[in-house]
């Protein structure tokens, strides 16, 4: 096996088959998602008051009523009880047997006006169930197809002029998928880039470098490290995707909006041609930082120089969403460090012209190649600087 691949495998194995990687890098995102879903579920569950609702019907609509469809979890069924008189309903309310009661006046069917009496706050889940009962009974004699359409309401579909893209309330989630994918990539990029920088600094600190470079060329060594680092990042992303896709596939039949989720081929194209070179670019810059500094803490401070431009599009999300084709958006799409997130953010909102994609991807690839060169040079000059920082002026100096 070529020495480069030995370096790749060593880097990959050293970080991926490590308890810290499994705990921090792999499980962190699924755990955060799990905790967030759990919290949402808990908040909704706590919000549901299952004390019965009451109603007094003077309109005759709910004489022998048909039931409304059962609520979807985490909502719970709230029993709805009829009362003959308002006085009876009121005493049940005062006794705490019901949380509220609705009064349907005799002219309800013509006016649509009703009133509700409650002592404490009436939560939406309970009132929704009463309105679902009303809807079911108002439409009981209507053709089921029409009834279904009326219940579902209108669906506005926004379509691009060329028909290639459309968005509606059913697949709104697809707008944010590219941005979420971009953010996931960037988190992986920085966590694995951090490993790489730390590894280079450690090799300097524990003096392994001198042994290594009398065995393998600095360029081979640096290329092996960058490939290994990229492989670690991709492993992380693939596993995150698996962790996210499994619940989506399991729950898509139960949660309607999950059915509309899809990843457009253009998003995949951008991930491959813009985000992937950006990954290599950041890895190489991290390695270059590792080669120039004398200790890991110093390197962490310098990472801000790279991370700030990467996150600028995220900070400008509002502006980019309202004007995805503005000169600012186009400028950020072409600048190497801001391009990955800007392109993915815009991908969900507008049709990206081909020239912008091609130019952004080309610039990204060129910068990645330049960063590898820079990392190799910084490495050659800084590898034996023990306890002394290599100045960037020296890296760019002609010698």
């Amino acid at each position: 096996m070529n020495k480069l691949w030995h370096v790749v495998w060593h880097e990959y194995r050293r970080h991926v088959f490590n308890r810290r990687f499994v705990l921090v890098s792999l499980l962190s995102v699924p755990l955060v998602i799990l905790v967030m879903v759990g919290l949402i579920y808990l908040i909704i569950s706590l919000d549901v008051n299952t004390t019965p609702l009451g109603y007094v019907d003077y309109s005759g609509l709910l004489v022998d009523p048909v039931s409304a469809p059962a609520p979807e979890p985490p909502d719970k069924l709230v029993p709805i009880l009829p009362f003959a008189t308002e006085a009876a309903a009121r005493s049940a309310l005062d006794a705490g047997q019901i949380q509220a009661y609705y009064i349907l006046p005799a002219d309800y069917l013509s006016t649509g006006h009703l009133s509700v009496v409650h002592l404490g706050a009436l939560k939406t889940p309970a009132s929704s169930q009463f309105y679902a009962l009303l809807t079911a009974n108002l439409l009981r004699n209507t053709d089921p197809v029409i009834a279904n359409r009326l219940v579902k309401g209108s669906e506005i579909i926004v379509q691009s002029p060329d028909g290639s893209r459309s968005i509606s309330s059913k697949n709104w989630f697809n707008v944010v998928i590219p941005m979420v994918a971009g953010i996931a990539f960037i988190i992986a990029m920085f966590s694995t880039g951090g490993y790489l920088m730390q590894a280079v600094v450690e090799e300097k600190e524990n003096r392994t470098m001198e042994v290594i470079i009398t065995s393998v060329s600095p360029n081979q060594f640096m290329a092996g490290k960058i490939i290994g680092d990229t492989a670690i990042g991709l492993t992380q992303i693939v596993l995150w995707m698996v962790f996210i896709l499994i619940p989506i596939l399991v729950l898509r039949n139960r949660i309607s909006f999950l059915q509309g989720i899809q990843i457009a081929p253009q998003t995949l194209f951008l991930l491959f041609f813009v985000m992937f070179p950006a990954f290599i670019l950041v890895s190489a810059l991290m390695a270059a930082i590792g080669a120039t500094v004398s200790e890991a803490r110093e390197g962490q401070q310098m990472v801000g120089i790279i991370s700030l431009p990467i996150w600028i599009p995220y900070m400008l999300t509002g502006s980019l969403m309202s004007s995805p084709n503005s000169p600012l958006a186009i400028g950020l799409s072409l600048f190497p460090l801001t391009a990955p997130l800007t392109m993915l953010l815009r991908d969900g909102l507008t049709i990206l012209p081909f020239w912008q994609i091609a130019l952004s991807a080309s610039l990204q690839v060129l910068c990645a190649v330049a960063a590898i060169w820079l990392a190799g040079r910084a490495f050659r000059l800084g590898m034996l600087r023990y306890g002394k920082r290599l100045k960037w002026r020296e890296v760019f100096a002609k010698n």
Binding site: K3, H10, R14, R207, T208, V211, V216, L384
Partner: protein, 300 residues
């Protein structure tokens, strides 16, 4: 053809000339000593030799020509600053370093097993390197240097941090490698070790070559004109002797210019002095070293 040939090497770091017009050759199969005080330019010379640093002027030929990637597999280098991956097990560390020297995994396993046994490290092979003592790490570094059976072995201060038992073990290992025809460059400031092991040396101070050649020749050059003798008898007055100096139970006779040690021996025998010991006074390498670096000795 020499195994290593440095010709008029100069290397500076900023205003400091670390190596200044250094030239020496190391013959194939030789155990060669590279000496000098701390900061003399020994390690820089080694790094130039190994193409880690590019010299500003001069040329280096190693194993028959300029350094290239394939030659790295034929060279074993143990730097003064020991370097092993601390957070991985010892056997994995050796496997990685061996693989970078072009060894197959099977070869690495077979050879490291044998060396680990020899150095009493078998029980520690699955332990992380950082859990090993300093001496054990030192031995592990020696194993990593020898694993690929190099033709040229460059060891920088190989006895640093070792106890006497392990020092002896490393010394025997170097002699064994030497007997097998491996060219060895031993870089050290421990003169007695170099004196014991090396046939030829180069001494560098302030980046310049101060002494270079066969150890015996150098000692002869620095011997001055004196003899050391041990006798129970009184030393008679001897022609050609300038001064008599008692020295730890022996007597050192400083001879006048033009007087040969054989003339003194002849006189002593003629005057029936019972000699227990008679030898031409030779300075130790330590003494030569001190004289050279303190500027008391002239470079012959």
């Amino acid at each position: 053809m020499p195994a290593v040939d440095l010709s008029h090497i100069t290397k500076s770091f900023g205003p400091v000339k670390a190596v200044d017009d250094v030239s020496f050759s190391v013959e194939k199969g030789e155990l060669f000593g590279l000496l000098g005080p701390n900061g003399a330019g020994k390690t820089t010379s080694l790094r130039v030799m190994l193409d880690i640093f590019k010299p500003e002027s001069g040329s280096v030929a190693i194993l028959g020509g300029p350094m290239n990637e394939s030659k790295k597999d034929r060279i074993g280098y143990m730097p003064e600053e020991r370097g092993l991956y601390q957070d991985i097990p010892l056997d994995r560390c050796l496997a990685y370093l061996g693989s970078l020297k072009g060894l197959s995994l099977a070869d690495v396993k077979q050879r490291s097993t044998s060396y680990l046994e020899r150095f009493d490290l078998t029980a520690y092979k699955t332990k992380k390197v950082k859990e090993l003592s300093k001496g054990m790490q030192q031995k592990a570094q020696v194993i990593a240097t020898l694993l690929h059976q190099p033709e040229l072995l460059i060891v920088d201060e190989p006895f640093g941090g070792l106890d006497p038992v392990n020092t002896q073990m490393v010394k025997e290992l170097l002699l064994e490698q030497h007997q097998q025809g491996v060219t060895i460059i031993l870089c050290s400031h421990q003169m007695h070790q170099v004196e014991e092991l090396c046939d030829r040396i180069v001494l560098i101070d302030h980046g310049k070559v101060m002494l270079y050649g066969a150890l015996n020749d150098i000692r002869h050059q620095f011997s001055g004109n004196a003899v050391t003798l041990r006798t129970a008898d009184k030393i008679p007055a001897l022609q050609g002797v300038d001064r008599v100096e008692p020295l730890n139970g022996t007597v050192k006779l400083h001879l006048l210019p033009g007087t040969a040690p054989q003339d003194v021996l002849r006189s002593l025998v003629a005057q029936n002095v019972n000699l227990e010991q008679f030898e031409i006074s030779m300075p130790t390498l330590d003494e030569i070293f001190i004289r050279v670096v303190q500027g008391q000795g002239t470079v012959p």
